[in-house]
Symmetry: C2
Subunit: 192 residues, 2 copies
């Protein structure tokens, strides 16, 4: 396999560095060191650290978005698809030893008041994510396996936001308690 | 009234600066400028920016913790107390125009992997907060106004974490939709 080109190496290193240390906690030098490229090469590829952060966030979503395929598996009952989806995300957090958290939530928290472009990109990813969940919630409501009174858009956004809060708490507590509590309440009290 | 002393001014300025710009986005100079004290005076009062962050977080909790009194008002039905409590927090976010968010969540997201002392302090405040909610949830379950199957500790932690996620989404979207969705689902689907 060919080595990834310089831009690719910078995006991958940016994703890892921002995810571990945050945007303001990472300098361009940290990223180029991690990518093993000269610092001078950075500005051949990106106008700013902010521009790299957008590319890193899109790369993160490209990876994270793969799990969304579980939601489209029509051979599985829709409420069960939702459960498997969030259980898979919980396994990922365990593999990371409850470090890093969710890059979308991290950037949202850190940058919503500091960078228009990152606020807008974060908002748009959270909206896309909520819509993917909403489609599955609507199917489950139609199948009668999810309560019908909060509409699918409300329930879906609530689930996405609550998941972000659970991931934050798991990162702080360094254990899976918050993720298990999310699964217990969402799949025990809301979705039945 | 006497002017607050230098340490007090630094703590208040630190709270405001960290809340607006994050820990890594704020320098000691930013804080001493905001406090209108000489930069040199900082280290007479604090060993490090991290030590100030702990004091600022405690000051934040001192303010935020006042709303918890609503949860102890035994003249009000416990589920109604919980609703009033979260509605009051939502009003605070509106007054801030959906900027800043929750300092506990912000520090947790930004610093859980970077500062042992701030991770531990954040974890301990989230645990205190969850316990205050839990007491009210247990009363509401006893009164029969909240479903009994998730135990009070699970429901309370879920509510705190989901609230943090809703605040994050409101900060990103710059509107109250996520907070209203939280109230709809928690008080419509879980607590009835």
């Amino acid at each position: 396999m060919p080595k990834p080109n310089v831009r690719e190496r910078i995006v991958n290193a940016g994703l890892e560095t921002f995810h571990r240390r945050g945007f303001n906690g990472s300098g361009v030098q940290d990223v180029t060191d991690a990518a093993r490229v000269p610092k001078g090469s950075f500005y051949n590829h990106f106008a700013s650290k902010e521009a790299l952060a957008v590319a890193a966030l899109d790369r993160y979503w490209e990876h994270a978005g793969r799990a969304l395929q579980l939601l489209r598996d029509e051979s599985v009952e829709p409420a069960e698809r939702l459960r498997r989806y969030f259980e898979q995300l919980a396994e990922l957090m365990a593999r990371w030893n409850y470090t890093k958290g969710c890059l979308i939530g991290n950037f949202g928290t850190e940058l919503a008041d500091q960078s228009v472009v990152l606020r807008e990109r974060t908002a748009s990813l959270l909206a896309d994510w909520s819509r993917a969940i909403e489609h599955c919630v609507a199917q489950a409501q139609h199948a009668g396996t999810v309560r019908r009174d909060p509409d699918p858009a409300t329930l879906a956004a609530f689930m996405v936001n609550s998941w972000e809060g659970a991931v934050l708490r798991a990162k702080v507590d360094k254990d899976d308690a918050a993720l298990r509590q999310f699964l217990t309440v969402v799949f025990g009290a809301i979705l039945t």
